[in-house]
């Protein structure tokens, strides 16, 4: 009788719990639970379903390797579709060089430059347009939770629409050419950029903002002096990343006539000028690499 009372005393059951916990913690491998088994089954099912739906087949891929090789062979040697222009030499050089100099350059170069210009203007526009959305889409700066929810939803809708659809819309609005592409980049980037900015704003240390608020500053002042300095390095870094993204993205907007290098690339593909295509790709890769390097360099200085 006495031992039974002892067994149920609080001190004893606490010791028992401790011993159980110790045994549990000693297990080198986690206990297999029903939840874990279910999770593994679901994951396997998702993969099986996706493989089934996409006809992923290693054997077919192996069989297709000669075709890849054949295509690659047709890309070489790369050819630069040259164009010439007459350069009017300045007067003091004319005695030397003659009045006009023929200069040869790959025909794609002006289009690559145009693509970069589109990305510069499009991204800058997107940055300006994204800031107000970012404020409303960050939990710690949105005035009301419902505004936060609605803004996030709008941004998600924007993100779900491919840039090329925006390009189609704006080409219809402002006509063929790079302006439509710029508009597409500016509007099409808001969803992603505002979301990234919002993440940067949410990642700040609220204590510092609180300290600025405690001085008697207004919400807007606290934002400028407490939030912006903290969020700026990350937001600027995201902006540069998005600029790089837009340079790449702008290369395909030409497919629908929205300017940039995509128009020429489509032409080369349609006319089977694969060697010219390879020449264009080389120049695009060089350009994108240079831009990535510059942007990397700037980003490192910002953080």
């Amino acid at each position: 009788m006495a031992s039974e009372i002892e067994a149920t005393s609080p001190a004893h059951s606490a010791a028992l719990r401790q011993a159980e916990l110790r045994d549990e913690l000693l297990r080198p491998l986690p206990r297999v639970t029903l939840k874990m088994v279910m999770a593994v089954i679901v994951i396997i099912a998702v993969y099986a379903w996706s493989i089934e739906g996409t006809n992923v087949s290693p054997t077919e891929f192996m069989a297709g390797i000669p075709n890849i090789a054949d295509f690659i062979v047709r890309l070489f040697p790369p050819r630069f579709d040259l164009e010439t222009t007459a350069w009017a030499a300045p007067a003091f050089l004319q005695g030397w060089l003659g009045a006009e100099l023929p200069i040869a350059y790959p025909g794609i170069v002006p289009y690559i430059i145009e693509t970069v210009q589109m990305a510069v203007i499009g991204t800058s526009g997107a940055i300006i347009l994204s800031i107000p959305f970012a404020l409303l889409a960050a939990r710690n700066t949105a005035p009301y939770p419902w505004i936060y929810q609605i803004t996030r939803m709008l941004l998600n809708i924007n993100r779900a629409i491919p840039d090329i659809i925006f390009a189609l819309i704006f080409v219809a609005a402002v006509g063929l050419g790079p302006f439509g592409g710029v508009m597409a980049l500016a509007i099409g980037s808001i969803g992603s950029l505002a979301k990234l900015y919002a993440e940067a704003i949410e990642a700040i240390d609220p204590q510092q903002v609180l300290a600025v608020r405690a001085t008697g500053s207004s919400r807007m002042q606290a934002f400028v002096y407490g939030v912006v300095p903290q969020a700026l390095p990350l937001a600027a870094s995201y902006s540069l990343l998005y600029f790089e993204h837009n340079v790449r993205s702008a290369t395909i907007l030409g497919l629908v006539g929205a300017g940039g290098v995509g128009f020429i690339i489509t032409k080369y593909i349609n006319l089977f000028q694969y060697r010219d295509l390879m020449g264009a790709l080389i120049l695009i890769v060089i350009t994108v690499t240079i831009i990535d390097r510059i942007s990397d360099f700037l980003r490192k200085r910002l953080i």
Partner: protein, 261 residues
């Protein structure tokens, strides 16, 4: 032979800042030594040199008969597991559970792929669990480290350091972020486990009363040199003036206010 012998240790940073001029002392296993001095006196630099986070520019640190200043970074990996470190800001990995944080103290003893996959066998776990029990936090084993209070975090950090089964424990301002009451509790835990395992413990401290309450010996550092090395009871106003008010000392008697007593 002493467990730890430091001879003429000096540290000059690349920017010319002279953190340690010439520090020498010896310490035995199981001793608890408080190191006191003003901010910038070189206390942190001293601890960082002892566990190889910083390379001293001169002098010797002889740990267990082994001159650690001559070690390459690869050799340091082997040495560091013998030296536990406790930080002012705890430096637990916030997103990991408490027990995993304590188990990181065992990483120096596990080199296999298993440890990279989160696998620790029963012997390692038993050591971690025992140390967590010693600081009374076994109930929190499965919680994420960022759910703990400051005092609890520092006790987990003590359990982590003790799981290294160290010969030397270094603590850099371990209670500077805690209130006086918690400071005493955490220092009590630290001193208790260190004495139980006979671990030499060097603690940088700002609070002189705390140093007096827990240390076997006090070393005072000023301007990169040892200016006091003795029993806590010998730490009088003259000594405190030399440690803390050397720049205001006139050639005569010590100042009258015992501000640090």
């Amino acid at each position: 032979m002493s467990l730890l012998t430091i001879q003429n240790l000096s540290m000059v940073y690349a920017n010319g800042h002279r953190a340690l001029t010439s520090v020498s002392f010896t310490a035995e296993a199981g001793e608890i030594i408080a190191i006191i001095g003003r901010s910038g006196a070189g206390k942190s630099t001293l601890l960082r040199c002892i566990n190889g986070l910083q390379r001293p520019t001169g002098g010797q640190i002889i740990l267990d008969g082994d001159d650690v200043t001559q070690k390459s970074e690869a050799e340091w990996y082997q040495t560091r597991r013998q030296i536990g470190f406790i930080w002012q800001e705890y430096n637990l990995v916030d997103r990991l559970p408490v027990l995993t944080n304590v188990l990181t103290g065992r990483l120096g003893y596990t080199n296999g792929w298993g440890s990279l996959a989160g696998f620790f066998d029963r012997s390692h776990r038993a050591i971690a669990i025992r140390n967590l029990e010693r600081v009374n936090l076994l109930e929190r084993a499965n919680q994420r480290a960022d759910k703990l209070s400051g005092g609890e975090k520092q006790r987990v950090a003590i359990a982590r350091a003790m799981s290294q089964e160290p010969k030397v424990l270094l603590a850099d301002e371990p209670v500077a972020s805690l209130d006086p009451e918690l400071s005493m509790q955490v220092m009590g835990d630290l001193a208790r486990v260190a004495r139980e395992d006979n671990v030499l413990t060097l603690i940088n401290l700002h609070q002189v009363p705390v140093a007096k309450a827990f240390a076997d010996r006090v070393i005072g550092i000023a301007r990169g040199e040892v200016v006091f090395n003795g029993l806590p009871s010998e730490l009088d106003d003259v000594a405190l003036d030399q440690i803390y008010r050397f720049d205001k000392l006139s050639s005569q008697a010590p100042s009258k206010q015992p501000a640090y007593a």
